[in-house]
């Protein structure tokens, strides 16, 4: 009890609150990620007690992930990579004048999802981490493909075009130094390309600049209106009523998010895409996804914050980072003299209890801090579209530059912006491409290492039990739509026309 109450000590509570506002601020700026927010918090946290320092890290990461959804919903520019999936239906809701409702839902789902993630972290940490440890190259290869297949089927447009976008993304990920041999691929003697295409400028270009180009293509008349045509009115009760009716979706997405977060290397971004895909596939109205449906907002936003809890499972129990944020956290823990691993629960039990309590308190605070963030952001969006679009271009350029202080990344952002604009004209979804760039190295490395282990024999990729589960899930992802229609046809006699049409 003493450890739980320690969280409300001003020495812990105040740094937590400050870091949460900091997270809201950083996450809402495209190009500045949740990882960056945590990295910037770490130097300050060294001057505090271990619990206060880790409270700051937790607070900043939870709010930054939510805050990334604010520009994603209002402008279709994900503030952080984990907000990519939130652009799909959140932005469509904004177009319908329901942006504030989308963000209120997002905020509550982030808090509920985050709470579920933390509760799961407390309850099932050891067995889950054990399962994750059984993953070898073969399983990671299929996990990567599963994540990619989700993004293909969930995007707007047809599946074949989504598949082509995913493959183009994977091809883009091969640019740069080959990890196994060190050979520079598709670099054309350009030194900047040696380290590959940085995915954040690519993402800013594909989602941000392409949206600006789309808006300015119609001339200046439409640009003289305010950026969002709605009065930003936050209505928590309405949002809670909607969530109440869909609580199962929130719980399901949060559980999926936590499970994916628990797998080392798979963070909040993959969790959000996969849960969106699962929700679309199991929905009674999959055709509504991508048009501004509430479920399309609830699923990814519950999952991305829940995944943060998941990433702490392997970090705390085995000292293996679940994502880049926990990789930094592990470094910070070592600086505080805490050794992550199975013994942490015995040696630093008080601290672990404190961390869990902080994480739960942070979910409650997220709601208040989040509302402030939404309000602040909406003030900016009262400006004319032309002003905001010009600002977005400048921020996109600076956000791209700031990742590694490289002008080259501004050009990367530009190229991807033009590419995104043109691809959308021919109905090619952009989301699978960005996920292809993110997952490309994971898929290729595990495929090649796996093949190297077996001397080029693919059969082992199809033999291990967890691999078979993933293969079944991939097959199910692509065929479930037809399967459900067929089952309806058999059992209810419905959907005959649909089957005939297909």
């Amino acid at each position: 009890m003493e450890n739980i109450l320690a969280v409300f000590n001003p020495n812990v509570f105040l740094p937590l609150l400050v870091s949460m506002f900091f997270g809201i601020f950083v996450g809402g700026i495209p190009g500045l990620t949740a990882t960056m927010a945590v990295a910037l918090i770490i130097p300050i946290s060294y001057y505090l007690s271990p619990l206060a320092g880790l409270a700051m890290v937790l607070g900043a990461s939870f709010t930054a992930i939510f805050s990334g959804d604010i520009p994603a919903t209002f402008l279709r520019i994900p503030g952080t990579p984990a907000s990519g999936a939130a652009t799909l239906d959140g932005f469509e809701m904004t177009k319908k004048g329901k942006g504030s409702l989308a963000l209120t839902l997002d905020l509550f789902c982030s808090a509920i999802g985050g709470t579920i993630g933390i509760v799961l972290l407390i309850v099932v940490a050891p067995p889950l981490a054990n399962l994750a440890l059984q993953f070898t190259n073969y399983e990671y290869f299929w996990l990567g493909l599963f994540g990619l297949s989700m993004s293909v089927v969930l995007s707007k447009g047809n599946v074949i075009k989504g598949l082509s976008a995913a493959i183009i993304g994977l091809l883009i990920s091969t640019i740069g130094m080959d990890i196994t041999t060190g050979y520079p691929r598709f670099t054309f003697q350009n030194i900047e390309l040696m380290s590959g295409i940085e995915f954040i400028p690519a993402m800013i270009g594909l989602f941000g600049l392409s949206e600006v180009l789309k808006r300015i293509q119609g001339g200046n008349k439409s640009l003289s209106r305010p950026t969002i045509n709605e009065k930003i009115k936050v209505s928590p009760l309405k949002a809670l009523r909607i969530i109440g009716k869909r609580f199962f979706v929130v719980v399901k997405s949060a559980v999926i998010g936590t499970l994916i977060g628990a797998l080392p290397g798979a963070g909040a971004d993959i969790a959000a895409w996969v849960s969106y895909g699962v929700e679309k596939k199991t929905s009674k109205h999959p055709e509504e996804f991508g048009t501004g449906t509430v479920d399309g907002v609830i699923a990814p936003t519950s999952a991305n914050n829940a995944a943060l809890g998941g990433t702490w499972i392997p970090a705390l129990v085995f000292g293996i980072p679940g994502d880049t944020i926990t990789a930094i956290v592990l470094g910070a823990m070592l600086m505080f003299g805490i050794q992550p691993g199975p013994l942490i629960f015995e040696e630093s039990g008080d601290l672990v209890t404190g961390i869990f309590t902080v994480a739960l308190v942070a979910q409650v605070l997220l709601i208040f801090v989040g509302f402030v963030g939404i309000k602040a952001y909406s003030q900016v969006l009262k400006l004319k579209t032309s002003t905001v679009m010009a600002g977005v271009v400048i921020f996109s350029m600076i956000g791209s530059y700031a990742i590694r202080n490289s002008f080259f990344d501004i050009y990367v952002m530009l190229i991807f912006g033009i590419m995104g604009f043109l691809l959308e004209k021919i109905d090619v979804p952009l989301a699978p491409m960005i996920l292809g760039i993110i997952l490309g190295p994971m898929i290729e490395d595990n495929l090649r290492v796996g093949l190297t282990k077996t001397g080029g024999d693919m059969s082992l990729f199809f033999q291990r039990p967890i691999s078979i589960v993933f293969i079944c899930l991939i097959v199910f992802t692509f065929t479930s739509g037809y399967l459900f229609k067929f089952l309806k046809y058999v059992f209810k006699g419905k959907g005959r026309n649909e089957i005939k049409n297909n």
Binding site: T174, T180, R185
Partner: protein, 181 residues
């Protein structure tokens, strides 16, 4: 003179029809581009070294791009065939009305893209902050904001950028060699 007029008129007419044909054969164009990209990747990958360990050849740097390109060729062929079949059947396509592009819109896009391209060499001369201020003013003015307002908004925007990136996050902005801002 009338010859030139006719030629210009014909070219204008042809130019006006470009969006129509682009829209009509968009899948075919996409398919051809996918195949062209894949063929380029496969050809280029043949120059990559082989990965041989103890005399045994293993998947090297060209393996993954080549496999992906083969899939992409298949998709390209599918898109081409689908487009041809659809056009033969004269299947009606959905026309998006929100993607209407105007003359002014084309100017906006071209100037914005050119502005971003020129931004980098410009800041070499006048520095990042002044460059951002000038570019933001120019962009806002282009998109229909009055000049004085553009100046004010851009000054605020630049100040915000300096506070966030330079003062808070210590991200160094490059200075120009003529004007050190």
């Amino acid at each position: 003179m009338s010859k030139y007029k006719n030629l210009i008129y014909s070219l204008k007419r042809l130019f006006r029809q470009v969006p129509y044909y682009m829209s009509k054969y968009k899948n075919l164009i996409y398919g051809v581009l996918l195949i062209a990209l894949s063929v380029f990747v496969i050809m280029y990958s043949t120059g990559f070294p082989k990965y041989v360990v103890r005399g045994h050849e293993l998947p090297g740097p060209s393996f993954f791009p080549t496999v992906l390109s083969i899939f992409l060729i298949a998709i390209g062929l599918y898109e081409i065939l689908k487009d041809i079949v659809d056009n033969i059947r004269k299947k009606e396509r959905k026309v998006k009305d929100d993607s209407h592009i105007t003359k002014r819109g084309i100017i906006n896009i071209l100037v914005t893209v050119a502005g971003i391209i020129l931004f980098v060499p410009l800041i070499d001369i006048i520095g990042f902050k002044l460059g951002a201020f000038i570019f933001a003013t120019f962009l806002m003015y282009l998109l229909g904001i009055k000049f004085i307002r553009s100046l004010i908004y851009s000054a605020v925007l630049t100040a915000v950028i300096i506070v966030i990136f330079e003062l808070l996050f210590r991200i160094p902005f490059p200075q120009g060699y003529i004007l050190p801002f």
